[in-house]
């Protein structure tokens, strides 16, 4: 990025595109140039742990998957000495004289997503990193574990290439430090990624001994508590709560010793084969330059300074931020903020939606149903991925001899744009009416090749993919001959199936452009307003008589936001926006329909109304657990954190005049009944403790915790509280604090007893106020809602997203989205980001005129249907119903609701209901071809 001019809605951005020295359109990524390049360089992608060439593909998932030349190492670019690569490239794709290109683009808004870098332990020589070979960072280790890493997925260590058996992880390297060179914040992701690495290590070597030296274990993410338990319960895994110092590198073995201390054993020194430093996240160096050019502000930590409630907005209008440039965040949060940034751009630019869209034109579809099958087989080398193991020419030769095959050829990269184009041409030239591509997985490439068939003028369902990469070359790398035989078997099976495939039609259904948002808390209102700002009409329904939800009980955030003022503003906006229809005291009685076309009946008082909508957002929030422990409800001095917050805000004297306050964390969660962490309570109690200290700095505050989970920037407030003499006392789940009422001299004292591990003694505290950090619990109504919208709940009763990492605000049911605490406990600004994220995702549907339903759905052959009703009873999609025919009632499939799983087909006694594209005939042909050669 060279410069940016203009303002929100009309930015002019100048970009300098560095030369790649490759013409991207010509390169197929075959790798011949890489093979012949004489210059070996360290592979940055593999953390310099392995070698690469001066010309190479950056990494195996790079987009585009083409090479580039490192100008610092290329002999030609340095001294005009070598041109081997240009000689071996038969696509003439290499251009050693390429110059930087200057591009000027006009954009309405900008999203900054520069990501993060890892903390470099070399800077301070932490734990001898950089000097001692068997001390690596977690990112080094990640590459070592990876199949595309320096040891091709074998777990080896650097010094001698041996399999390390005894491995230590040291947490918080570079994070949670107030010493020079360290980052004061918590990097949020290291506890979980370390646990993942332990699990993967144990997968590699079940006998590996894994030791994690940690401070607090911060498993605050959804399902992370269970993940932590899973790791902890693996045999040979130890979690040790201790600071660690480097002992020494042992000459000879090059093993490393670490010194640590436990309450039981005192100081110990232990030897490890490999030490992994769980390094934290830092903003990349170039963000300072970036900030200057974009004229945005950074925080003192070097992250993007964002709006205190909307973490996606930068300090400049029209420029948004997503991912770890906001601060240390995990994958789901990055994706949420990416979708959220999308929504905010769309709010800004909604008036121009679709102006630049180009409609694709396909040639007319040739009717081939009367023709004999004419199968074309394309066998892909996938660069060297397949070709190195499987003898591709031999597979091609074999395929051309199979029944129905009229054309077979190889392809270096079947998916390359020009190859796909050639396949389309071949379909027309050779009159192919079925196509088999033997390459990689249909999961990633089937849509592309189906499109190729459309370009070739035949129905896209005439396509079949034979996976000879994941299912063959990748897993049989050392058995070339057998792998080639297997590839032939796979191709033969695919050809057998392809010959029987039928053309299928996809349904285009109109989209109702209105949205339904269920839940009128901050998440629901934000989502509704965002949808309205993007030009869509919204029904916002709330079961209580007023909007605001949980936030009505909150008065401030850790960062100091006046929550009440904010919520009142939001409520006013929701009521005032002409496209937002608010319904309070509303309950949903029925919900039906499908993506693009839902019909939901809503009851408000005596009124029942049906609304039609194209998408739904579930934002039903969560509640505070009402404790049954620690004398809650029996003594008015025992409060929850939310109650304390309210009383502080009201200046209640009992609170402000208290001399001794005890807070207990994890009340009602991280236990058997609720096996999750409520995520927000640690921050919540720190906030209240700081407020109390503000009122009376001499107040004694004891905070009894299990792990302080003040992740991200909240860590700074934790430190502030400790500096202000809030006393933090850790307790174990097996040895919870005891709370008693003691009568003494007519006075009723609240006595709290807790074991202090540091002092190794029982501590008794007289509390004027006992504050319980009560769990966040899902509302009981979730069950009913999950039934109505056919979306699932997780074991804890929160809504279950489609994919924990990659689709955090989508449901598996298309057209239904979720945000806020309905998903999992979270703080206000996280809920707001998710609300924008859900609205961004929802608009991907609402902005379309129609949605397409797959052609591969079930169908009933009425003649064979005996009306037994089994299919109706097993189809929980509700896609099958009986309808009346002259021959009596017969099953009928609603193709829009059918999810294409095919359970009905397997259950049907007469074979009357068939899942199209996967019919009995199709699959039997494939099964027969597995063993039989025609």
């Amino acid at each position: 990025m060279d410069k940016v001019e203009g303002k929100a809605g009309e930015f002019n951005v100048t970009l300098i595109k560095k030369p790649r020295y490759i013409e991207e359109e010509k390169c197929t990524g075959c790798g011949a140039c890489v093979e012949f390049c004489p210059i070996l360089i360290q592979d940055q992608y593999n953390q310099n742990l392995s070698l690469n060439k001066a010309i190479h593909v950056y990494f195996s998932q790079a987009i585009p998957l083409v090479t580039y030349i490192d100008p610092e190492h290329c002999l030609f670019l340095r001294d005009r000495k070598c041109t081997i690569c240009t000689g071996v490239c038969n696509k003439n794709a290499i251009d050693l004289f390429q110059k930087p290109e200057r591009l000027e683009i006009e954009v309405g808004s900008i999203i900054l997503a520069p990501g993060f870098e890892i903390f470099d332990p070399k800077l301070r020589n932490d734990y001898g990193y950089g000097k001692i070979q068997n001390v690596v960072t977690s990112l080094d280790y990640e590459r070592i574990l990876c199949s595309t890493g320096p040891y091709e997925g074998e777990l080896r260590r650097l010094s001698d290439g041996k399999h390390p058996h005894k491995i230590a992880w040291i947490q918080c390297v570079g994070s949670r430090q107030s010493i020079p060179g360290g980052n004061s914040y918590c990097s949020s992701v290291c506890c979980a990624y370390t646990q993942k690495q332990v699990i993967v290590t144990k997968d590699h070597d079940a006998k590996a001994e894994c030791t994690i030296f940690h401070n607090d274990v911060r498993s605050f993410g959804k399902d992370f508590e269970r993940f932590y338990q899973r790791t902890e319960n693996l045999p040979g895994v130890r979690f040790i709560r201790s600071y660690v110092t480097l002992g020494k590198e042992i000459p000879g073995t090059k093993n490393v010793t670490l010194r640590y201390a436990t309450n039981e054993d005192g100081v110990k020194e232990e030897e490890f084969d490999l030490v992994v430093l769980s390094v934290g996240l830092t903003p990349p160096d170039e963000v300072k330059d970036l900030a200057e050019k974009f004229n945005i502000e950074l925080t003192s930590q070097g992250f993007c300074k964002t709006n205190s409630v909307n973490a996606i907005e930068t300090t400049r209008q029209g420029i948004f931020v997503s991912g770890a440039f906001q601060g240390p965040v995990d994958i789901p949060e990055s994706i949420v903020t990416a979708s959220g940034a999308d929504a905010l751009c769309s709010q800004l630019l909604a008036y121009r939606r679709g102006e630049m869209a180009i409609k694709r034109e396909y040639p007319g579809e040739r009717d081939v149903s009367k023709e004999e099958p004419r199968v074309g087989v394309f066998v892909c080398h996938c660069g060297a991925n397949i070709g190195r193991v499987v003898n591709v020419p031999s597979v091609v030769k074999y395929a051309s001899g199979l029944k129905h095959v009229v054309h077979a050829q190889e392809a270096l990269f079947a998916c390359a744009t020009d190859t796909a184009k050639k396949i389309a041409e071949t379909i027309q030239e050779k009159g192919l009416n079925r196509v088999v591509v033997a390459a990689c997985t249909p999961r990633t490439h089937e849509p592309l090749f189906r499109d190729t068939l459309r370009e070739g003028g035949i129905n896209p369902y005439y396509f079949e993919m034979a996976n000879i990469r994941e299912h063959c070359s990748w897993v049989h790398a050392r058995e070339k001959e057998i792998a080639t035989r297997k590839a032939k078997d796979i191709v033969r099976m695919s050809v057998a199936r392809a010959a029987r495939l039928k053309p299928l039609q996809e349904l285009n259904l109109p989209v109702d452009k209105r949205a339904l948002v269920v839940g009128g808390g901050v998440a629901g209102m934000t989502s509704a307003l965002s949808l309205a700002h993007q030009g869509f009409e919204v029904f916002l329904i709330e079961k209580r008589s007023e909007l605001g939800g949980m936030a009505r009980k909150l008065y401030s955030t850790l960062e100091g936001l006046d929550v009440q003022a904010y919520v009142n503003d939001l409520i006013r906006n929701a009521f005032q926006h002409p496209s937002v229809h608010v319904m309070t005291d509303a309950t949903i009685t029925t919900a039906s329909g499908y993506v693009g076309n839902f019909a939901t009946t809503i009851k408000t008082g005596e009124m029942i109304k049906e609304v039609r909508h194209g998408i739904a957002v579930i934002a039903t929030g969560a509640e505070e657990y009402k404790p049954t422990e620690y004398l809650y409800g029996q003594d008015e001095r025992v409060l929850t954190q939310i109650e304390l917050g309210e009383r502080i805000a009201k200046g209640e004297e009992r609170v402000t005049h208290s001399q001794s306050v005890v807070m207990i964390q994890c009340v009602g969660c991280r236990n058997e009944e609720r096996n999750y962490c409520s995520r927000v309570c640690c921050g919540h109690s720190i906030k209240n403790a700081l407020k109390l200290k503000e009122i009376n700095s001499g107040m004694d505050i004891y905070l009894l915790y299990r792990d302080m989970r003040t992740y991200g920037f909240a860590e700074d407030y934790y430190r502030e509280a400790a500096n202000k003499n809030v006393k933090f006392i850790r307790y174990e789940a097996e040895d919870k604090p005891r709370v008693e009422m003691v009568e003494e001299g007519g006075e009723r004292r609240l006595k709290v007893t807790v074991t202090d591990f540091v002092l190794g003694a029982k501590l008794e505290i007289d509390a004027d106020l006992l504050v319980l950090s009560a769990a966040v619990v899902p509302p009981a109504t979730n069950t009913e809602l999950s039934r109505l919208f056919k979306v699932s709940l997780n074991p804890d009763g929160f809504f279950q997203e489609a994919h924990v990492k990659l689709r955090p605000v989508d449901f598996a049911a298309e057209g239904v989205f979720l945000c806020g605490m309905a998903h999992y406990p979270k703080n206000l600004s996280e809920a707001i980001s998710e609300a924008y994220g859900a609205s961004g995702r929802a608009v991907t549907i609402l902005s379309r005129d129609s949605v397409t339903a797959s052609g591969a759905v079930s169908e009933v052959h009425e003649k064979d249907c005996v009306s037994c009703g089994i299919c109706l009873s097993v189809c929980t999609c509700g896609a099958i119903e009986f309808h009346d025919t002259p021959q009596g009632k017969k099953a009928w499939v609603n193709p829009v609701l059918c999810e294409g799983d095919g359970l009905c087909t397997a259950k049907c006694p007469t074979g009357a209901i068939q899942l199209k594209h996967f019919t009995d005939d199709d699959l039997i042909a494939q099964i027969d071809a597995a063993v039989r050669e025609d």
């Binding site: 997968d203 097993v874 189809c875 999609c877 799983d901 359970l903 259950k907 899942l915 996967f918 063993v931």
Partner: protein, 226 residues
């Protein structure tokens, strides 16, 4: 497509083709990608099919199901290596069990003919839809299931086998009991029941039983229901 799509017919077809082992890889319980929880149905189907395989003398271990998520590459490799090892240990189908090829095919075909009926029985008498792996395994391991299996499946299956033999040519009780590996009194019992149903009759002239209809037992049952 889901593991719930797997028809027992596919498995029988594979075995009839001489495949020595069939492995089904499904999503972990509770993680079905569809609202139908087809993996539970797949497990029930496998347990029932294993019982039928065992009944006809085929080692039930030739049919395997293991849960593997798309993210568990290493586990999948381990499972597959284990599957191959198990199949190798079991040896070639039929031969390892001491059943000759034709008899094996006949027996597999007898089950296949009965599948329409078995599917109805499974739905209406064998518990229908389950919601956990434990529930399914408990039910299929129970004495109740053994009893239902004997009453509802074994008897029709034997009769289906008899019908198939008789369709080839008329046979004596002795020939039938030898052909199916049944005791002669058992064979007589089944033949009496079949002739009461009108499916077979004793031909005085040939002194042999002959088939009356060309249809299998299962198809008839469905028609009755329809």
């Amino acid at each position: 497509m889901c593991t719930g799509r797997i028809d027992p017919g596919f498995i029988l077809r594979a075995f009839a083709n001489g495949t020595d082992g069939v492995y089904i890889g499904g999503c972990w319980p509770g993680e079905c990608h569809y609202p139908t929880e087809g993996n539970y149905h797949a497990l029930s189907m496998v347990l029932l099919t294993q019982k039928m395989l065992k009944h006809i003398g085929v080692h039930p271990g030739r049919l395997m199901v293991e849960w593997v998520s798309a993210a568990e590459g290493i586990r999948f490799a381990e499972v597959m290596n284990d599957v191959v090892k198990r199949v190798k240990e079991l040896g070639p189908i039929g031969r390892a069990e001491g059943i000759d090829e034709n008899r094996l095919k006949l027996k597999l075909e007898a089950i296949r003919n009965l599948l329409p009926y078995i599917k109805l029985v499974e739905q209406e008498r064998l518990g229908g839809h389950f919601h956990s792996e434990e529930e399914i395994k408990k039910f299929y391991g129970s004495e109740e299931m053994d009893r239902l299996f004997r009453e509802l499946i074994v008897d029709p299956l034997v009769m289906s086998e008899i019908m198939m033999l008789l369709r080839e040519k008329p046979l004596t009780v002795g020939e039938i009991s030898a052909g199916l590996g049944l005791g002669s009194s058992e064979a007589s019992r089944y033949l009496n029941r079949s002739s009461r149903q009108g499916w077979v009759r004793f031909d005085q002239r040939q002194k042999r039983f002959v088939s009356v209809r060309s249809q299998g037992v299962g198809t008839r049952s469905v028609e009755r229901r329809g």
